[in-house]
Symmetry: C2
């Protein structure tokens, strides 16, 4: 039952965020009875925190899969940019970054911080490697570029949702691809323009 509660919480957090995720809805969705939620978790927040830890792990694994390989660094960055993303559903963690109750609770916010810090570190390392290999122009600081790319994906979700247009996020990542190609030395450009 604990598993069903967590799965229901994960689904509701994705669909509506933390503040809309009511214990009642979790119970309905999971098929659990009223008593069982507060048997397995002391508070709504504890349930959400446990759910977000799992989401964090899932998203980190997915990022490590593309960014952690031994392919040429810029290809890994391109592969990360090209990951399948549903612009209208939003990022499962990033969508929570505007909720007062999430930002006000270290327990909840740490899932977001853990994920973003990990992705930023992976991208920074990958971009540094590209720079060492002389595949990336020196003017760009890897940490700044990493922040730019992660932000771009998160903002792509925002744009897609605000304009109710699934295409916006891929337009944004395509734009990022172009900029990255322009910042790459020609020796590393294996893709067609």
């Amino acid at each position: 039952m604990r598993t069903e509660l967590l799965d229901a919480a994960k689904a509701l957090l994705w669909e509506g965020g933390y503040e809309r995720m009511s214990p009642r809805k979790v119970l309905e969705r999971s098929g659990a009875g009223q008593g069982s939620l507060y048997h397995h978790f002391p508070t709504k927040r504890a349930l959400a925190a446990a759910a977000l830890v799992e989401v964090e792990r899932e998203l980190v694994e997915s990022a490590e899969r593309v960014l952690g390989g031994d392919a040429p660094p810029l290809d890994r960055v391109r592969a990360w940019l090209a990951l399948e993303r549903n612009g209208l559903k939003g990022c499962r963690l990033g969508r929570l970054a505007n909720e007062v109750e999430v930002l006000g609770s270290d327990e909840l916010r740490s899932a977001l911080a853990g994920y973003f810090n990990r992705v930023l570190a992976l991208l920074t390392a990958t971009l540094s490697e590209a720079k060492e290999r002389n595949e990336l122009r020196a003017s760009a600081a890897p940490a700044d570029l990493a922040a730019a790319l992660v932000a771009l994906v998160q903002g792509g979700y925002v744009l897609s949702r605000a304009l109710a247009n699934e295409k916006l996020i891929s337009r944004a990542t395509r734009g990022a691809m172009s900029l990255l190609d322009a910042a790459a030395h020609s020796s590393s450009r294996s893709r067609s323009d």
Copy 2:
């Protein structure tokens, strides 16, 4: 009194979003009495919609001020990227793009859509101009680059808030600056690296 109600709504929408903006809080903040809200506006949503129209106008004006001048196009884009932004407070419109009730109401969402469409159009036009002047490499489609830049700013807010670190958004825009410089032909680079 209508003005005070709108100002209170604008402040609350910025601080906590639409779903947290309760009529009670609007009344407290504005100093108005209970009856006056529903005298001036039929519903909470109508009040929020009116407030968001004003916010949209303010943000559009600010974007037009930097992007609409007659300076060299890439300088205008750089000036827009360099605008002062409080990463921890979030974008007054973009922060609403994850709220179910906002996305589910055309009345509310249209403020977000209006703003983002306008900024995308301005940036696309400016980048097209840069391309015509041969100041920007041809591989980049202006509409894609515009989406990338707007997304990057919106995602910068997300990162800053998720990591509780004001610097993230400026790190992201600095990274964008680097990428833009790399995509610019050297003839247009007036800034030091």
